[in-house]
């Protein structure tokens, strides 16, 4: 292809004209912009409690995914719950990052058991773990249950077991824990936040 001197001049004039027009007050950019879509707009909200300290800030976990056979439900965002009278929607840095706990690839999903004398943790299933726990609990209670104290008064208490509650338990959880453990005669009940 050959370009004559005349064609070159025409092209140059056209380009210069275009530059002139676009630089001085004519462009097709929209006067309104669409901002980025709100990433939590399609998520479901789950109200929950921050798992860390004893303050117990209310949080909202935003979850994507239906949980169908081919999808995994995953937390995409966590922020403070404005309805919570405890924090009014605010969160400290640790609480603000709590999504990293739920979505951590290092999160353990099954109970771990280290046999006496062993240096290795092994995966066990929940059923095995629960019956192991129940057995140990019963044995410890039988071995340390005190019916009468030194003065012969009936006390019916179990001194060999302590129960430590967590900052994440709700009022209802705490009620049930107290109820069941008192029924077993447990007297040493405390809270994680005091330790």
């Amino acid at each position: 292809m050959t370009i004559s001197r005349r064609d070159l001049l025409k092209g140059t004039a056209l380009a210069a004209g275009g530059t002139f027009v676009s630089a001085l007050g004519f462009d097709l950019q929209p006067a309104y912009a669409q901002s980025r879509e709100l990433k939590i707009s399609g998520a479901r909200e789950y109200k929950t409690v921050c798992p860390y300290c004893a303050v117990g800030c209310g949080t909202i976990a935003y979850v994507h995914g239906s949980g169908g056979l081919n999808t995994t439900r995953s937390v995409i965002h966590v922020e403070g719950d404005p309805d919570s009278p405890i924090n009014g929607g605010t969160l400290c840095p640790k609480g603000a990052a709590q999504m990293q706990l739920a979505m951590s690839p290092r999160l353990e999903h099954s109970p771990k058991y280290r046999a006496p004398g062993s240096s290795e943790w092994e995966d066990v299933d929940w059923e095995w773990a629960m019956s192991w726990f129940a057995r140990k609990y019963k044995d410890a209670r039988d071995a340390t249950f005190v019916e009468r104290d030194a003065q012969g008064r009936t006390v019916n208490r179990c001194e060999g077991i302590g129960w430590v509650g967590s900052a994440t338990v709700t009022n209802e959880d705490a009620y049930l824990i107290t109820k069941t453990q008192r029924a077993m005669g447990i007297v040493y009940m405390d809270h994680q936040a005091r330790i």
Binding site: V21, A23, D27, Y32, S35, L38, A97
Partner: protein, 289 residues
């Protein structure tokens, strides 16, 4: 809670563009953040909330003898709490600065930007970077009086705080303002925040901090993130310029220079056209014989 725009975000200014602002209807109020430094406890919750919401990459921290998490802002750290230990009246004072975009009413970054639509200022006062249009020239970095935008060499784009424009448009407050446990970061209309800031300054002065000021520098037309500074006589220790202006030196002239160049081009074309009309095409001499 202020009212929200009916549809879309009206644009007030756009980089390297001569499209005039629509000005057809009022788009509701301007929003502003007010950072009360005297209430900040330095928990850095805002830093985390910013990273979490904007899905910014995690950068390793290092201990360099300060409470500060990182040494500097980056393309993945749009908000950094800066901590400085300063001697005030023979005592140690801990100066805290929430370092992030101040969203100037006259944004130096936008004036310096040569890429059409890469930097946009909405009617609500928020200055937003649109990375799709960014050409990575970093003129905005030199245009910013507060040294905020940061270049990412991997994507060859520049990034900064956008005041959670996606949240603001949906009626939510910015992530940093929402998470702040001591309510040191307030968020609302610019008017309300100025009034609140002035009240806070009065309160601080009554408490004996005679130099307390509201930092809303007029050199950049005011900002949409303002500070209540307890020690206003030591702004330099907070790393806050005392009198910032939009576009230092030649950068402010860029738009004018661009228009001058285009005008020269246009006038040249016009002259060529008139010459053609007046004298006709030039005929080669051998043809004329």
């Amino acid at each position: 809670m202020a009212q929200l725009p009916a549809s879309g975000l009206a644009i007030r200014r756009m980089s390297a563009s001569s499209t005039p602002a629509p000005g057809i209807r009022s788009e509701g109020p301007e929003y502003a953040k007010l950072v009360d430094i005297s209430r900040c406890i330095g928990c850095k919750g805002c830093e985390i909330a910013c990273k979490e919401w904007n899905e910014l990459g995690i950068e390793p921290t290092e201990n360099f003898g300060s409470f500060q998490s990182h040494r500097d802002l980056s393309a993945d750290t749009w908000l950094l709490m800066r901590f400085t230990e300063v001697e005030v009246g023979g005592d140690v004072a801990w100066f805290i600065k929430k370092d992030a975009c101040l969203h100037c009413a006259e944004p130096g970054c936008l004036f310096a930007c040569p890429a059409p639509g890469a930097i946009v200022q909405y009617e609500n006062g928020i200055v937003d970077f649109n990375q799709a249009n960014c050409i990575g020239c970093q003129l905005c970095v030199s245009g910013c009086p507060f040294d905020i935008p940061r270049f990412n060499p991997a994507t060859r784009k520049v990034y900064k705080c956008n005041m959670c424009i996606d949240r603001v448009e949906a009626g939510l407050e910015p992530a940093c303002a929402k998470t702040c446990p001591t309510n040191a970061i307030s968020w609302g209309t610019k008017e309300d925040m100025v009034a609140l800031g002035e009240r806070k300054v009065e309160g601080l002065r009554a408490r004996g901090l005679a130099n307390a000021v509201l930092y809303d520098p007029p050199g950049v037309g005011g900002t949409h993130m303002m500070y209540v500074v307890p020690h206003g006589d030591q702004l330099d220790q907070y790393d806050l310029p005392a009198d910032p202006t939009a576009g230092a030196g030649a950068l402010a002239m860029l738009g004018t220079v661009r228009k001058l160049g285009a005008s020269a081009l246009g006038l040249g074309l016009l002259a060529a056209g008139l010459h053609y009309l007046g004298f006709g095409p030039q005929v080669p001499e051998e043809d004329a014989k």
